[in-house]
Symmetry: C3
Subunit: 274 residues, 3 copies
């Protein structure tokens, strides 16, 4: 399935996405979901998450500001979404930065089947090996996916996808999206996106809408979502004035997502399939 079709399915189906996410970037996640053609609901109280998940099409779990009251809500919502056959995405923000985050992410992986796990390379390595060197929520530079280590990185991502039965999306300067058999290698986006808080969280929200609207083509949908974010980062950057910086850029990227059409996405998506 073409990436443009994935986009058009989001526009036509307007998937309603349940987000249990952090309070740092939650507003941006909601606006990105609206921009891409989806619809957001945020709810993290245990007493209501099963109700909310039931009326939604997909679930996005993000551990960015984990607390003891929302952890049980993540498990309840995830199990309910699994029962209902809804796509579920995990964004293990900061896995490796604290025992609580690492342990919670690992327990989530044991109890819930995730359609997609999306993070930076340090977070994904932490989940894979228990030996990650995550320092904070930004990727450990020593662990970046580069042209030099690309083959090893692809193997790692494919193997972790096979082991978990989830699509694995590792994002950074080079993005990798694999279902264990195939791996998209994507080179869209701008380095300056790293100076905006929450572009990863935004992508996770967007990606949940894409896999929810394209349930039989989740690999392509997840890769398409990465390209949408990256292309929007390129378009948004092109409109920046010299006196503008990361705050205006944040808005320009969301604006570009709102204006993205299938033709632009197909033309600007820059990827190879391994």
């Amino acid at each position: 399935m073409k990436f443009g079709e994935c986009l058009e399915n989001v526009h036509s189906k307007m998937p309603l996405i349940h987000n249990i996410t952090n309070y740092v970037t939650v507003n941006d996640v909601a606006n990105v979901l609206l921009a891409c053609g989806g619809s957001p609901i945020m709810a993290d109280e245990s007493e209501e998450v099963e109700d909310i998940t039931s009326i939604c099409g997909g679930l996005n779990i993000n551990i960015g500001t984990l607390n003891r009251h929302t952890i049980p809500a993540m498990f309840k919502a995830g199990k309910k979404a699994n029962e209902l056959g809804h796509p579920v995405l995990l964004d293990p923000v900061g896995a490796g930065a604290s025992s609580l985050r690492t342990d919670t992410a690992k327990q989530l992986l044991e109890d819930i089947h995730f359609s997609v796990i999306r993070g930076n390379i340090s977070e994904i390595k932490t989940l894979a090996a228990g030996s990650g060197s995550t320092r904070g929520v930004d990727a450990d530079v020593a662990d970046a996916v580069t042209e030099e280590n690309l083959t090893e990185a692809i193997d790692f991502v494919k193997n972790f996808a096979k082991a978990t039965g989830s699509i694995i999306a590792v994002t950074g300067a080079i993005d990798l999206v694999s279902d264990g058999e195939h791996c998209y290698v994507i080179r869209n986006g701008k380095a300056q996106m790293g100076k905006i808080t929450g572009t990863g969280c935004q992508l996770s929200g967007l990606m949940t809408a894409y896999i929810t609207a394209n349930p039989k083509h989740m690999l392509e949908a997840a890769a398409a979502a990465v390209c949408v974010m990256g292309v929007a980062g390129e378009i948004g950057y092109a409109h920046l004035q010299s006196y503008e910086g990361n705050a205006t850029y944040r808005n320009r990227i969301i604006d570009a997502i709102a204006n993205m059409d299938a033709e632009t996405l197909e033309r600007e998506a820059n990827y190879e399939l391994y």
Copy 2:
């Protein structure tokens, strides 16, 4: 009282508003309150809400990301505000989407007198009938107020206002604001405002400032607030470039609220009184 006078009273009195609101749109609510001439305080810890409400002029309760710890704070603050004779507004975000939200909203209506209840038609129907078909936080399309069902909608809103003793503000493509006797029918705003998260929450914050600064003319003040938001939506849209979308539009609307004066409001407000 003219809408322009309502606006000028907000500018001159700078009402301090206590907000117990959701973490998705809270920053926008604070910036809208500052933009319109008011001043915001956000506080949702039970131990301090009575202190905070006591130093404020009005209270805005929004159940958008309800949790078991802030629910008691809503009741305590609401009762205190009632004791002090402060205007209190309820925004029943997502009532109908979960039992927790529906039940909490209904219990709030029983225990606290609200000056104004503001929501979309699905949320208000849920409160009125226990039979709402709310799906998430966006209005059920089948339940929209349209030119075709306008007479019935006005009757419904007037009746619910009489039953509750509150001003009811139903917002959507056509907005209705009634105290049970009269009903403003307002046709300002742009459809694209629905692609921005939290324009409803923002309006609730703004409206609380308007009713607080105009305590003897709350119906006009509530209707004026709806017009301020709608006119700002029109002005903000006029400044958008072709490459801009919902993120920039969000800012333009708040900017337009900051620049709104009585003359512009009077000239651009588009309403009828039934």
Copy 3:
């Protein structure tokens, strides 16, 4: 040490800052930290704050939306940071507005050594005297630092710095930053910054990065941070169109922080040393 050197140290060291802050302005604080050259982590769950503080260089505690679950996290993180010799900043948002805020801020002062305490004059007076007249989170106008009461205000700030062993930063139309011996009097910024929610919180985040990157010159670093924010407020204002207001201005200020260099800071910083 020159203010420009302080800035360049932030750029080169990219300090990782742990923030326990309010949910109103948290996104802006994260984006300001990225803009200035630092890196943010937000974490407020007691179970993980010691882990998070340990991988960071500095800690920023802000009591803007205090709740009973994050209060213990503030004490744990603060003690851990003290043990590790990390700079710790306190932003006592709304101290004086409720007993909970006042009491918590005072207890934090007793149990934790703060490198810097930054607030408006009402909040700082509340901490100093127990007799503040804070009304909400905005400074009490009667208590503003003005040209008329400047000498008394400098004495007050110097004395409170001596009493606490902390650098005291009082921000408003005129900003004062003192270590008890010397006092910077800074006249940068624009009055319109007061119409944006969270410029104080943003400054606290930025200042924590500055003191963390300049641990042997904290007084200059704290004063430099105040000048960065003020100069950015002036630059951001210069780019505003007549139809723009506080929402766009918020972004322009963060943009200007992202583009700030040592030369601009040195040229535009407007201060005297007493």
